[in-house]
Amino acid sequence: MSAPTMPAARAASAIDRRFADLRAANRRALVAYVTAGHPDPERSVALLQGLEAAGADVIELGVPFSEPLADGPVIQHSSQVALEHGVDLDGALALLSRARPTVPVVLFSYLNPLMAAGHGVLQRAADAGASGVLVTDLPVGADPEREAWMGGGPLDFVRLVAPTTPPARMAEIARHGSGFVYLISRLGVTGEQDALSATLPETVARLRAATTLPICVGFGISRPDQAAAVARIADGVVVGSALVRAADESVDRALALARDLRSAIDDA
């Protein structure tokens, strides 16, 4: 699968290959979010290493930031815990480099730590084993120079679409992204919720009409039944807060949840 705005010569990325394989097998992706350094650096490595066997196809690795304003209480707290363990962007890359998960990894970050790290950070991330980057506070058109920086390096630039995004802008967003498109399932910050938005299938359909990139849906999906419902309409399901909350208890708890999510997605 080609990424529309990337140079024509660009080879398929690890993320592209993973989604092509999934598509060939008629399977949907489990995208597992974990915060780097949470609940502590050792267990964070264990989590990263255990997630593939537990059924994750892609890992989103949260870069701890002091002001995570797109995140709800669970991920906010995990970010704070990680920072207390001294894990920031550099620490996240070091953990990734140690863990070397075999599934593609997308860095989930805010812009400020990336800016502070400077231009070379995307290559350093690639060297540490990352395949993509997602920047929660860098929407399309906000800062063309820094967007070009994110999209012009060695990583896929995963862009976000919100329920409020008008259809014309959906196409614009997809054109400026690669790897997959991350569809936010509801208004609000990250976190668990009881019921999926009733309008989600329509939003997925509108986005489907606007792009050929795989569509992964996240924010508010925590239970296996919800993951199954999303797997019936999208290419991938992102689960974050529920895994982070389980990881607060133990790595085994988080991996058990990932396995449950995996079976639910496969049975959908």
């Binding site: 930031f65 002091s66 002001e67 304003l69 797109a70 709800g72 209480p73 906010q76 704070q80 920072l83 920031d88 962007l89 550099d90 805010y110 812009l111 400020n112 730590p113 990336l114 800016m115 502070a116 790290a117 400077g118 231009h119 070379g120 950070v121 929660t136 506070d137 860098l138 929407p139 399309v140 906000a142 800062d143 063309p144 120079e145 820094r146 070009a148 920086w149 976000l160 679409v161 919100a162 329920p163 409020t164 995004t165 008008p166 802008r169 967003i173 936010i184 208004l187 609000g188 910050v189």
Partner: protein
């Protein structure tokens, strides 16, 4: 503090566009908010061109807020400084600070947009009180986010907000101050964007807020310029205002920014001292970064993590600053200085004793800087201070600290 490595693409600031001040400003927010910001910007620009909006705004400012605010001479302070000192009296506005100018404008906008629920953040509580007030006036639901630490420091203002029907939401994350209250307000807005308008209290946040809030506060500068010309026959030599987020400063600067001969001075909080690490001097010691939706100066470490701010004044206790201030600093149109907690306390006592005006602790920083800078002005060079708010809200906090600062001998009232 070390300077982050901003080499390569990260150091290149984006070109100036309509939503920026030089390279600063912009819209660094979650995608969910982009359509709301587009709608707000369109509504704001339409309102600017709509005579009926301007009429409603003018009416509210005159007959509810009490504008124009007066300009007072400060004779005994002038004698101490050796130059005529003038005070633009935003403390005399309804609710006691400049904050009401902006909330009136934004609530009128929210009504145009059909939004019935208002969200705000507050530090010292003045913006929260102003928002609760205007919401009560128009019968709108009002939710104010406030850090637990500030709730403790500003109990009186919390009570005032609740009295007027607002819900005060305590924020327990991070430092439990204005920075965290702002993050929580943004989280609420992302969740309730369809029926809620977020009234940002300063010239910070994503575009169009910094420009819009400055414009709603520019009444301060326009009035002050005309009043200075009328009363003194000349423009001030220097215009001084305290800077946290920087809305009172942008408001008064806006009246003089095109007068190249007028010096603009913003006074930040040096807290326990610039070298102590416990301060809020983001323009003096910060570096460019992104917080709460815009690119501006920011207190941050070398890894881009935001450093906690500190000030005796809850209203200045914020690690960021409005992006237009960043531009005025970089272009050298304005000068930014800082004043410690102790110096601000002296300013608080000094204006109270010398002029019978109890200033807000925020404003006390500007008073203290002017007094400390005596000798800088010739005796015919007027100094204009934006008296951004009154100090009633701070009296309990200062009295708990014990003895009042000794301001020393004061000059006689001029003959």
């Amino acid at each position: 503090m070390t300077t982050p490595d901003t080499s390569g693409a990260a150091a290149v600031a984006p070109a100036a566009t309509s939503d920026r001040f030089g390279p600063f400003g912009g819209r660094y927010v979650p995608e969910t908010l982009i359509p709301a910001l587009d709608a707000l910007e369109a509504e704001y620009d339409a309102a600017l061109r709509d005579p009926s909006f301007q009429r409603d705004l003018d009416d509210m400012l005159r007959h509810y807020v009490g504008r124009p605010s007066i300009l007072s001479e400060a004779p005994r302070l002038s004698a101490m400084v050796g130059a005529p000192v003038w005070l633009k009296r935003e403390d005399l506005n309804h609710t006691g600070a400049h904050k009401i100018n902006n909330t009136v404008g934004q609530v009128l906008l929210a009504r145009r947009m059909g939004k019935r629920r208002i969200i705000a953040e507050t530090g010292a509580g003045q913006h929260g009180v102003a928002t609760a007030t205007v919401c009560a006036r128009f019968g709108l639901q009002c939710v104010v986010f406030m850090g637990e630490e500030d709730i403790r420091r500003q109990a009186l203002n919390v009570w005032r907000m609740r009295l007027m029907g607002a819900t005060v939401m305590p924020v327990t994350s991070g430092t439990r101050t204005l920075k965290d209250a702002t993050s929580e307000a943004i989280r609420d807005w992302v969740t309730n964007v369809e029926d809620s308008h977020y009234i940002i209290g300063s010239v910070v946040g994503p575009a169009p807020y910094p420009r819009m809030v400055r414009e709603f506060q520019a009444a301060i500068g326009r009035e002050a310029r005309a009043q200075m010309l009328e009363r003194t026959g000349r423009l001030p030599k220097t215009v001084v205002a305290c800077v946290g987020g920087g809305s009172n400063a942008m408001g008064i600067f806006a009246g003089f920014v095109d007068d190249a001969e007028v010096e603009l001075v913003g006074v930040e909080a040096a807290g326990e001292g610039l070298e102590s690490g416990r301060h809020s001097a983001s323009l003096t010691l910060g570096t460019p970064g992104v917080l709460h939706g815009s690119l501006s100066y920011l207190l941050q470490d070398a890894k881009g993590q935001v450093i906690n701010a500190h000030s005796i004044s809850a209203g200045l206790d914020y690690p960021g600053v409005g992006p237009e201030h960043a531009h005025l600093k970089q272009s050298k149109r304005a000068e930014y200085v800082s004043i410690t907690d102790d110096e601000a306390l002296r300013g608080f006592a000094l204006l109270s004793r010398a002029e019978g005006i109890i200033p807000a602790l925020e404003t006390s920083h500007a008073i203290a800087w002017v007094e400390k800078s005596r000798g800088r002005w010739a005796k015919d060079e007027p100094v204009l201070i934006c008296l951004s708010g009154r100090g009633d809200k701070d009296v309990a906090q200062v009295s708990e600290m014990g003895a009042l600062p000794d301001v020393g001998p004061l000059p006689e009232y001029p003959a």
